[in-house]
Subunit: 367 residues, 2 copies
Amino acid sequence: MELTRRDFAKLGALGLASQAMPPVLAQAGGRKIGYCVIGLGRIADHFMRGTKDSSTSQITGLVSGHRDKALKIAAQYGVPATSIYSYEQMEAMHNNKAIDAVYVALPNSMHAEYTIRSAKAGKHVLCEKPMATSVADSEAMIAACHAAKVKLMIAYRLHYEPTTLKAIKLIRDGAIGKVQSINSANGFNIAKGEWRINKPLSGGGPLMDVGIYSLNATRYLTGEEPSSITASVSTEDHDGRFDTVEENTSWTMQFPSGALASCSTTYGASMPGFYRVYGSKGWLEVTEFGYQNLRLRANYRTGEKGSAPTILDEPNTELDPKQFTREVEHMTECILNDKTPQTSGQEGLRDMRYMQQIYKAAGITVL
Amino acid sequence: MELTRRDFAKLGALGLASQAMPPVLAQAGGRKIGYCVIGLGRIADHFMRGTKDSSTSQITGLVSGHRDKALKIAAQYGVPATSIYSYEQMEAMHNNKAIDAVYVALPNSMHAEYTIRSAKAGKHVLCEKPMATSVADSEAMIAACHAAKVKLMIAYRLHYEPTTLKAIKLIRDGAIGKVQSINSANGFNIAKGEWRINKPLSGGGPLMDVGIYSLNATRYLTGEEPSSITASVSTEDHDGRFDTVEENTSWTMQFPSGALASCSTTYGASMPGFYRVYGSKGWLEVTEFGYQNLRLRANYRTGEKGSAPTILDEPNTELDPKQFTREVEHMTECILNDKTPQTSGQEGLRDMRYMQQIYKAAGITVL
């Protein structure tokens, strides 16, 4: 059974849903759930370090095109050389009992293929965001995991992160009153040569990679799905970086309550991630969508006009890779307790649909 | 001759254009330029206090429907009772040599009538923003002032304000590199009974009153005129406040350079004014569009990648009504030196056109 947005909202309101679940090692007979990492890039490193810190999860396999690199990493994480696979032969993991699940950390356009192959190999799948590069691929991933009776979770790590959950809880509890408007931005100045600016690999520009944080935030903050979208895209730099993807995207969304969100993303400028939520009783803001240094600020008045406002300024001191530990432990919980992840394939599919609507609204053809 | 946006950009880049002008009292033979205030509401109070602090300008007349209130204010500012006019008889100021100009501080829909009547009475006009409630009215105001050979300035006080001018100068000097994206918001939770939520008086919702700050900022920050606009409006509260105007507006603009702006405004939430400009070398932010407490923050790197960034955090300690002093002194400069105000009728007309385009993009019928 899928958790609905409403369920998620309730879980959030009940306080840090992912933490509220029971200890799981008992169900696993004391064994940690084993993850095979597919793709050994930067984010995989964060994930592996986060998993190493976990009491419920561990790295038990690697899939890479560079065996030397993989052997080095395998040694660090205690993965036997026999659990290192090439991309071509990864189906062999089917018989590897130490591997319960995979973590797909490949360029976006490969998410579908490797999710589907992993599902067919009988492994649960934790897949990075964006889920895929098209709605059709996303649906195929969901169908494949359903058919193989394996879990599919999209790695929206902030859904398991305390500052984010506190912001959601404050809003659900009515602290800032009725949400009227949201601003959000997230972007960076990208280097030449990154796969992220190669559309066949990325599926799109900064929206797919970092704008998705703003998009997803507006949905978890409001607890609603957008009912209409307008958007603009542009490219200023003609230096070879933006031959296949756009440089900037800004968009507005309207939610059924009437709340409006305006969001920006870029690959051409320094744009520290943030969202600010404006309500009838005050506002709250979270800065940083990154792996650490999130900070919650708020200013709201629950009493009469003229009463003293509540002012919050709460830096989150947890360090990277704690967010990844929380994320993998949620996946492990779901595997052991046969639960649907809070950030299931359906959650990834929704963002994929909205991103395509943003592109369509901006006049860009999508698959 | 109209100053173009380019001229204004150059003046800004040369450093605080309004301050760079020569002392003016010599030209006036030592006499301060006299202003008659039309409409004695809240903003008129700021303007009169600001003018009182000026060495070049003074309050010399009042137009009000409440003679008792006007007499009290006249006493405070040394205005003779004979220089107090009713709305009906204000044309009599034509023969009042102590009145050089008027300051129109009435509800938006009355700006056109009182600007045109003042021009016909031979007085220069400083008119509050928004200039009017329609493009046709704005054009009529410009034509009337042109025909009467009087100045028309729209009271965009931030064009004369040091923190704003520094932000513009930093951008023109290339400190943050190529501007890719701008976020801005400005709004508040409006009380019942305000004329601002009565469309026949205001011409529209928060966009006309406070969103115009974000709109105008994106233009002075980029030094460009928007080439396309998308927008959404909504109303959540059905408590009698929003029977004639919308509660929320969010919009995106694209500029010829490719820079994108996403802006929000509301009458239903606490939304402290700000803009943040994202460039290829860093970002800058100004918080507050109000009468004091502006603050400039910036973080940019002019050297090589890896070099130390320049980090600015500069609170502006000038207190209200200093912005109004700067504003009126610019008008006085223009009167004495026969110059076109930097924020001329054309500047007001541009914003009026863009506001109408925002409304049209959001599906709202405009005049």
